[in-house]
């Protein structure tokens, strides 16, 4: 595959140059700050943007997984009580969904047994997810 190699390089170069116009959601400053903390040293903004895009992709994948879990749970709940269909429509990123999603990515996040997300969690049980 002698011909594919320069092709890949060209694609990579093109991708890197396209990053100059791409603004990732994670700001360059943030990426630069944490990268410099870990010893990463690079004057090229494109490389830093590639790193931040990788992070963004990682987070976005987790978020989309959590969203799928959330939707699945909501549909399961709504199947039981069809009357409350309109109320529980809002999509909320919850810790439970997140911990489930993170398990696939090798991150173990366990909800504390008596962890109250907000002060009114115990007093207002209707808002709490089951």
């Amino acid at each position: 595959m002698a011909e594919s190699k320069p092709d890949d390089d060209a694609v990579l170069i093109e991708f890197l140059s396209s990053l100059m116009d791409y603004t990732p959601t994670i700001p360059d400053e943030l990426a630069e700050y944490y990268l410099s903390k870990s010893g990463f040293q690079c004057p090229d903004v494109r490389i830093i943007r590639m790193v931040s895009i990788a992070t963004q992709k990682f987070i976005a994948e987790i978020a989309s997984d959590a969203l799928q879990l959330c939707k699945a749970r909501q549909s399961a709940v709504n199947k039981e009580k069809r009357d409350k269909q309109q109320k529980d429509k809002s999509l909320v990123l919850t810790t439970e969904d997140l911990s489930l999603a993170l398990r696939e990515y090798g991150v173990n996040m366990k909800r504390q047994e008596y962890f109250a997300d907000n002060p009114s969690a115990g007093t207002n049980p209707t808002s709490k997810d089951e």
């Binding site: 594919s4 944490y34 809002s90």
Partner: protein
Amino acid sequence: MANNGGTPTTPPPATTAQIPTNNEKKPDGGVDAFGRAVARIAVAQICEGAGFQSCQQSALEALADIAVRYLRDLGKAAHYYAGLAGRTECNAFDVIHAMEDMFAAQGFVGASDVISHSVSGSGTVREIMQYTNRAEEIPFARPVPRFPVVKKRELLPTFLQMKETPPHQHIPPWLPAFPDSHTYKSTPVWNERKTDPRMAKMEQARQRRKAERSLVSLQQRLASASGSSSLGLAMETDGKGKNSSPSPNPNPNNPFLAPPVGPEEKQVSPVKIPPVLSRPALKLPSVLEAFAPAIDAVKQGLDQVEELDGRRKNPRGSQALSDERPLVQFKFDFGKKAQMAAHATGALRNETPLSSWFSRDEEMDDKKRRVEQILKEAMENPQDLVQL
């Protein structure tokens, strides 16, 4: 900044209404607080892009933490690969290697096609490229300043930068140059004139003129006082008893309102002239004559001088008068002593109205005090002459 964590997401429904209060309780990560706050906003934006309408604070915190950890791990791995290649600066390939490492948790992407082994053609890069094409571009919500803010120390320019040669041989030129010599050398300080010298001179001249004028008026009063000294005494003695004034006087008992008695009208007991003063030294110039040059000097421009001049031109009259009345002997002294002496010696009684007049004037004008002093000094000389 910490409160902005949930703002990029859509308005939170009832479940996440307490996000701000939770935020305040959360212990901020000290130095990292700003970075974590920015990461929280970014993660919230990503979640919003994924389709969430709101998120729990704890989930957001956890996800932001994961994002930061991911960034740092990626950086660490890339740095490791750069160090492995003998470089200090990372390049794209180090990052790709690091990404492959990080993505390994999800399985080896693109490992199935055995043919391509080049780094640039690895599956992770392709995935990233696909992601950038697929995902919509959500720029960060607000401008982020560069942080951490590191103050760059401003070094003093060296001798080389200043293009100067060090003043001494032993100072290498790469050392910071000396400051300008005027900053450490002592220089004489000049008294700054607050006023214009010309204006000061004019003011001085004006004051001198004023002093001379008051001196002249003083002279005039002195002359009149010496002329009517015996007259005043006469008024004091018997003006009280009989009222000889023909004028319509509203209060005939008031001696001060009575018209003055002429010098010949009243019989005054002749005063014995002390032997010292009865000597021919009496012919010495009177006070008026002693001051004649001074009066002459200020004669111009002063209308009071005219009257005085008239008196001066006829000194015989006063001289003739001085033969009959007691000679006034002025003994001036400075300060309180002069007042004490004036009160102690009865012979100098006619000085008391003068001194009272002086004191009244002193209150009126400070300049007059100087005039008085000038006069005192001037009076010293005739007195000395008399005593000789």
